[in-house]
């Protein structure tokens, strides 16, 4: 360019007339986004306001929040002082919600992929174009293949409303939630088959004499009120038993750390139960009153002597006995924790059954420190999408498999059907708040499934691995910008004054950019697919008000009560209406073991180590992998290697490695080695939820290793169809 001309000379130049006339013609037509307003004196707008009604979603525990707002900008999140759940406490992730809200990489506008799935090239489009495209593409698929031609992968409270539409009204069974099929579904259905109740995490740890954890690593897994219960129990002198191949944060606080061989937990539990039965150290009265099929179980697990379990589990028989004695001595005031993420080895339903049976054997139901169901508020209102007319048989019913499946359809049934086209084609995919690339094992199959679709739409707050495969990508409101669920519960310590709370999620700030909430998006798609007359609510506020109206509350009333309604509660302790099915006849009729049964899993081949994964205390997997504050604290996932093993392999602390699994799949990225005596030699461990392949994440892209990329060999729980994800093995390739 000719730089001799300056702005000043340009403006003064006679030639200006030639340029400025067309300029002003063009600009005269465009409205400015900056307009004249009354003068504001300096220093105005600086007062910080408190916005109430926040309900956190940096994880799924839903702590109640307030936001400190300055000039419409959220500057800080705090626990709501009125909360009887988390109180004023929120965790690191909760604090860092501000950075999610204002993450520059967040989805801001509807986008159309004008490139290829997996290698997207985005173009911002209007909501009208986006919704028209989604509506017409999905409708075309339904017209050609029926509702079953559409699969949905939802997650979280934002996806509840659209899931209602797609599953119930439109009528596809092909819905698979990671929270069920790659997480806790097994726990819920195993407990339902055993005690006829889904357990949640309803153990009264704050008042327990013994807390018994299999795999749970509180301190690394932080759900504030739950951790408060756990810590209060420990403060009050509860003995802590932690069964874990790794010296976890909980193991570090334990009285007994059982460094078990991964995958053998059921054998351990059966030996404890057998020991208690053989030595008549169980709660005979409880078992007689509430138990069914006890004798069959007692007979069936007789083989599980301490010695046999010791050999299988690779722990001393004396330690198994010590645990059993400790439980017996303190029953019924023991917390046998049901766990949360339990989809480990493909034999998990049996372990969960065994945990429920052990709780029954100890009579630890409805008593202080035992399994206690908090009594929350009743009478909340409801709204739902109406059930549609045509509902085909589900893939699960057609296959006559997985009779204890959680709600929805087991993921592999959907994925295999989509890939093979048998028994029918699945050609449309709706992904809402889930990142199936990092939640579902065998990424190659997931990608194959997506590639054969006629249409893929994603709704999310952030770019993720899966959003790279969208044809249309829609920006959702974050939990800080929307109304949705109504969180209810009780005071965190069940033994304290009984109180209940009702806390709807309310926005702390207005949605930014062109983000829309899931009620709007779903309704607009439903209208375009011909279901406009079935829409149950017009806005998210209407939905929340309908729920609150059941208990004579409203959004306005809750706001006036500082975001949380609190009312007197009920004593949760006392006799429970339950039966403990030590032997379950119905299960046997379906061809499953009637009593809790140990099913061994494959051991690592020579030179390979079982890949275990878990949580970073400051992350929630995909949800926080681009968060500036949290990544500043913890930006990758070093692989834990036993010190003796490391010495044999020539690995040192801080070495950079890539991992190769038993199928020859090499990690796309590298990580560092953490050498520690705190893990067994037959396994390695790393945090889940790192190493995103999406370069749209400025901070999180390629940080650490995506453990899921190495989980290629599938294990499916026969009772539930849920995945077991700890049956893959890796070896190291030293990079530097």
């Amino acid at each position: 360019m000719a730089m001799n001309l300056t702005r000043r000379t340009f403006l003064k130049a006679a030639s200006i007339a030639a340029a400025s006339v067309p300029l002003s013609k063009v600009t005269a037509k465009a409205e400015s986004g900056v307009v004249k307003t009354p003068l504001v004196t300096p220093g105005s707008f600086k007062d910080t306001q408190t916005a109430v009604g926040g309900v956190c979603e940096m994880c799924f525990w839903r702590c109640q929040l307030v936001g400190k707002i300055r000039d419409g900008r959220l500057v800080k999140l705090e626990g709501n002082p009125k909360s009887i759940d988390n109180g004023v406490s929120i965790c690191a992730r909760g604090n860092a919600g501000v950075k999610l809200l204002y993450d520059p990489d967040r989805l801001k506008y509807p986008l159309k992929n004008v490139g290829k799935r997996g290698a997207p090239k985005w173009q911002r489009i209007s909501w009208k174009e986006a919704l028209d495209t989604c509506g017409s593409k999905l409708k075309a698929i339904v017209d050609q293949h029926g509702a079953k031609g559409i699969a949905m992968f939802p997650h979280g409270s934002t996806a509840t409303y659209p899931m209602g539409f797609f599953e119930k009204t439109m009528g596809t069974h092909n819905v698979s939630e990671a929270s069920f099929f790659q997480c806790r579904g097994i726990r819920d259905t195993a407990y339902l088959a055993t005690i006829e109740l889904a357990p949640n995490e309803n153990v009264d740890m704050a008042n327990a004499k013994v807390i018994f954890l299999i795999g749970c690593h509180f301190g690394e897994n932080i759900h504030v009120s739950h951790v408060k219960q756990y810590l209060k129990g420990l403060e009050n002198g509860a003995k802590l038993v932690v069964v874990d191949p790794r010296y976890s944060a909980s193991a570090a606080k334990s009285h007994i750390w059982v460094q078990i061989r991964p995958g053998t937990d059921t054998a351990f539990l059966l030996a404890i139960m057998n020991y208690l039965i053989q030595n008549k150290k169980f709660n005979v009265d409880f078992v007689e009153e509430y138990g069914e099929g006890f004798d069959k179980m007692a007979e069936g697990i007789k083989q599980w002597t301490l010695e046999k379990a010791a050999q299988e589990c690779d722990v001393p028989a004396a330690q198994i006995k010590e645990v059993a004695e400790l439980l017996a001595a303190n029953m019924p005031n023991v917390s046998i924790h049901p766990g949360r993420h339990v989809s480990w080895n493909g034999n998990d339903f049996q372990r969960q059954r065994a945990l429920a049976c052990l709780t029954g054997l100890l009579g630890a139901f409805g008593v202080k420190g035992g399994f206690v169901q908090p009594i929350g508020p009743k009478g909340l209102g409801k709204y739902s999408w109406p059930k549609g007319e045509s509902h085909d048989e589900s893939l699960r019913e057609m296959a006559d498999l997985y009779h204890y499946s959680p709600p929805g359809t087991p993921t592999d049934l959907i994925r295999d059907t989509a890939i093979t086209g048998k028994p029918y084609p699945i050609k449309g995919c709706v992904i809402w708040g889930q990142n199936p690339i990092q939640t579902i094992p065998n990424q190659e199959k997931t990608i194959k499934m997506l590639e054969q679709m006629d249409f893929v739409m994603c709704v999310d707050v952030m770019p993720t691995d899966i959003t790279m495969y969208a044809d249309i990508l829609l920006p959702d409101c974050s939990y800080l910008e929307r109304y949705d669920l109504v969180k209810t519960g009780t005071q965190w310590d069940l033994a304290e004054e009984h109180r209940q709370y009702i806390a709807p999620r309310m926005p702390l700030v207005a949605p930014g950019f062109e983000r829309k909430d899931s009620v709007y998006i779903t309704n607009e798609i439903a209208k375009r697919m011909g279901y406009g007359d079935k829409i149950p609510i017009q806005t998210q506020e209407e939905g929340v008000n309908k729920v609150l109206a059941g208990v004579q509350l409203s959004i306005d009333k809750i706001k006036a009560e500082d975001g949380i309604h609190i009312q007197p509660g009920k004593n949760p302790y006392g006799e429970m209406d339950l039966t403990v099915h030590f032997h379950n006849e119905e299960m046997e009729d379906h061809g499953y073991p009637g009593i809790p049964t140990y099913i061994p899993v494959e051991r690592p081949p020579e030179g390979y180590y079982r890949l275990l994964y878990g949580r970073s205390p400051v992350h929630t997997f995909n949800r926080s992998q681009n968060n500036a504050w949290l990544m500043a604290e913890n930006s990758d996932n070093p692989v834990w290697v036993n010190d003796k093993l490391a010495a044999r392999l020539g690995l040192k602390e801080g070495d950079t490695v890539s991992l190769v699994n038993q199928d020859g799949v090499t990690s796309r990225t590298t990580t560092t080695v953490k050498v520690t005596p705190g893990i067994r030699q037959d396994c390695v461990y790393m945090y889940h939820g790192f190493g995103s392949m999406n370069p749209e994440l400025t901070i999180g892209h390629d940080k650490g290793i995506d453990d899921q990329s190495l989980i290629t060999k599938l294990a499916v729980d026969p009772e539930t169809g849920a995945h077991g994800m700890r049956n893959n093995f890796v070896k190291f390739v030293k990079v530097s």
């Binding site: 000719a2 300029l23 004249k36 000039d71 949605p511 370069p695």
Partner: protein, 200 residues
Amino acid sequence: MSVHSLSRDQDDASATEAATLSSLYSFLALTMRYPDPAFCTEPFFDAFESLLASLDWPSELAAVRAWREWTPDPLDDLRTAYTGLFITAAPGTTIPPYASIYLDGDGTLYGRTTERTRAFYRERGFDLTDETEPADHIRFELEFLAALAGEARFDDEERFLQTLFRPWFVRFQEKSMQEARHPFYRVSIQLIDFFTKEEQ
């Protein structure tokens, strides 16, 4: 010495110059808006070319002309280019056009700079029409400058340029020159630089 305060203060600046400067800022703001058929028309591109011709920037003019001749659908092409450059791009080469990203330490949206920018607008009697986008988007900053120039408020203009605009724009521009391969945006950012920098 800056162009604004001493050599061309409010009294002796001609009304024509003020109007021209205001039009220029408005025009530059348009180049930083998401391309819309309402303004992304042939006259818009023609005006863009006339401006380059008036400035005697032959190579930039040639690049823009070549692009116009080559592209079958300039609006569609600009939309994809804008999205990739300023909104999101799979190669990770996005250059967010918000001041706070460059000035507030941890690359955030709605940082303290956003607050300071909006306060600056308000304290001079202006505000945004729509609060869903941050006040420190380059488009709004240029529209604000257009409004100030339109009223020949050159002291305020200079102060804004010095304290809020240039400190982040230079970093934005530096990154843009690495990433912006599209001639329209590359040249637009060079034009913004030309019309906002202090003269030697």
